[in-house]
Symmetry: C2
Subunit: 138 residues, 2 copies
DNA sequence: CAAAATGATACAATTATAGTATCATAATGA
DNA sequence: TCATTATGATACTATAATTGTATCATTTTG
């Protein structure tokens, strides 16, 4: 049972790293060095984050990734990243073979799990990239 | 992302069904009829619940399953069942390839997820079989 | 035009989940 | 005793999600 997949985890770490550093642009290779994760996997993740609009990319020499201009680290939430890599956030799927469980409407278990899910969602939404970056003492 | 697997879900439904009905013993076949789930899968689940001490089983004609004498529906929690079928409850695995992530000790993401996990655990523990059984109006 | 970066995309490995199938064993009653 | 009816044990299979790898195309820069 995992709340967060490796995809999401790596993406979050990468976003933190990108947000933390001062240069405008950082390449996948540089990120691999500081984050110690598989290069092709990270590259794929970075491409996705770019497509989803969280990052900007630039090609060629001195190219790489930067936070998209429109977004600030305080605005990127864990749920944003989870949605991108894990789809919709549902603790409780209630599948019965291929279709929904016929009891879905009056299932007391589902009701209780739904309540938990709601609270988890609120808490996950409160976790932003900036909240994960260590505040350094100046 | 699923909090509860089908194993657990079926087991919980079966336990509710067993706890609800008045006869001492109910067979797998009878449970399949009321619960509409695959017979061999349910059988395996019932066997596991028996091994784990939540159910008692009896063989032969009029055999079947009953709640173990030592346990009451109010004492069986969702976490008990989850532990049996899903192993330890961890929202946050922090695996890095095969071993733990080297940053596990000072990972701010892990710290935050751990907090959420603690609360989820408390809430799951509050869900008992008896709390899931519909109170019927007499 | 070469070098250095990302883009796109197809493929493969591993693991967890969700089952199925089969035969052995025990209890019951005619 | 023996057929019936139940569970016990266990091995096997299918599917899907996760976690990657590999390759080639494209763009930018000097």
């Amino acid at each position: 049972m995992k709340l967060i997949t490796r995809n999401t985890d790596y993406a979050v770490r990468a976003l933190c790293c990108i947000a933390e550093q001062k240069q405008e642009v950082i390449s996948a290779d540089q990120l691999v060095k500081s984050l110690e994760m598989p290069r092709p996997f990270l590259r794929k993740i970075l491409q996705t984050l770019n497509k989803e609009g969280l990052l900007n990319s630039s090609k060629g020499k001195d190219g790489g990734f930067a936070l998209a201009v429109a977004v600030s680290p305080g605005e990127i939430t864990l749920t944003d990243v989870m949605k991108i890599f894990q789809g919709s956030i549902r603790l409780n799927e209630c599948k019965f073979k291929k279709s929904d469980c016929p009891e879905i409407e009056n299932c007391s278990l589902k009701k209780k799990i739904d309540e938990i899910e709601k609270e988890v969602f609120i808490k996950l939404k409160a976790i932003t990239i900036s909240s994960l970056i260590k505040k350094e003492v100046k």
